[in-house]
Symmetry: C2
């Protein structure tokens, strides 16, 4: 995150210019071509101005790209399947946004830095899991679910195939809609009994 | 792949020494610490000996680690769920083997090199999808499935959550067994009708 978050207007303007430059450099040179030198040149600022804000290139990338993920609870569509479809489309858009190569590079950077990994978990994954919990609770309130499936399992079933299709299988994003249908059926349909209790499964 | 595949005994011995050194360097220094220098030092061979075999570090890594994946069709367990569980355990072991950081680094390297990506698809993903097709065909022959679910969708549902749990969610591998149950139920149970035809879904 920016060291100067909430700073003076001029500082905030420089933050915006740097963020735009990060996106532009990734767009032109890919994640592998993203360097502090390239961002400084694109933004027309000194490298020192960047390092005053971010300790490392990875910090900079993370701070710029993570807010782009725009994690929101979908509006109530009136059904579990509808809510899950909206959430799947949101996650799919987040994952497709940076492109497969950038996503893989970003994940590798996050994994390589325990501090970034912890921050990614709290600012993104925990929020996303909370949204899934909200969507499941709505379904219980509607009478669609007799019991609450494990949000962690639903999370992996939504996020996992999307990542696999994009990063490994090269088959994204045609299947996002079918995935939403499928997970909705899993959570809301005949398999709910199989989703609880988790403890007895392994 | 090794340029000298099937070469003289001495060449094959050097291949084995290099392969062992790649695994040892990764074990000690992680994927980020894997360099041709480090492998040459560990193996007690010259860098030239390595570059005679592999054009790049990524070629070397890929050639050593991919055969370790040991892609096999599981023995017939007598049920679709049993076959899928065996396959899930095999894929889980492959993914856990290198460790999350190494897996992420390897995937990033594969993505960054179109030739490696194509080779990964033909030597690993296509084989794995063929195994899934065989498992589904067995289930049809047993009368467990009235129709054949799309192997590509089953593939993503098996592989995706395993990758997400390990690389993104930090929750692997406790859930491999429940995943196998779940995908078995999806493929064989109440949702089969939902899996076909894929065309009408999106």
């Amino acid at each position: 995150m920016a060291k100067h978050a909430g700073g003076r207007p001029r500082e905030r303007r420089v933050d915006t210019v740097i963020a735009a430059a990060v996106r532009a450099v990734i767009g032109e040179a890919g994640y592998a071509g993203l360097t502090v030198d390239a961002v400084a040149a694109m933004a027309g600022v000194s490298k020192a101005a960047i390092y005053r804000r971010y300790t490392t290139k990875q910090e900079m990338t993370f701070a710029v790209l993570l807010p782009d993920l725009d994690e929101r609870t979908p509006g109530d569509t009136g059904s579990l399947t509808g809510d899950l479809r909206a959430l799947t489309e949101q996650i799919a858009a987040q994952i497709v946004g940076p492109g497969p190569d950038n996503l893989t590079g970003l994940l590798a950077d996050i994994r390589a830095d325990p501090a970034l990994r912890a921050r990614f978990a709290t600012t993104y994954l925990t929020v996303e899991r909370g949204i899934i919990g909200t969507v499941l609770d709505r379904a219980i309130a509607r009478g669609e679910l007799a019991s609450r499936p494990d949000p962690a399992l639903v999370h992996a079933l939504l996020l996992g195939p999307l990542i696999a299709w994009l990063v490994v299988l090269d088959e994204f994003p045609a299947r996002a809609t079918e995935l939403a249908h499928l997970v909705g059926e899993i959570a809301g349909g005949a398999l709910t009994a199989r989703l609880l209790p988790v403890e007895t499964w392994s």
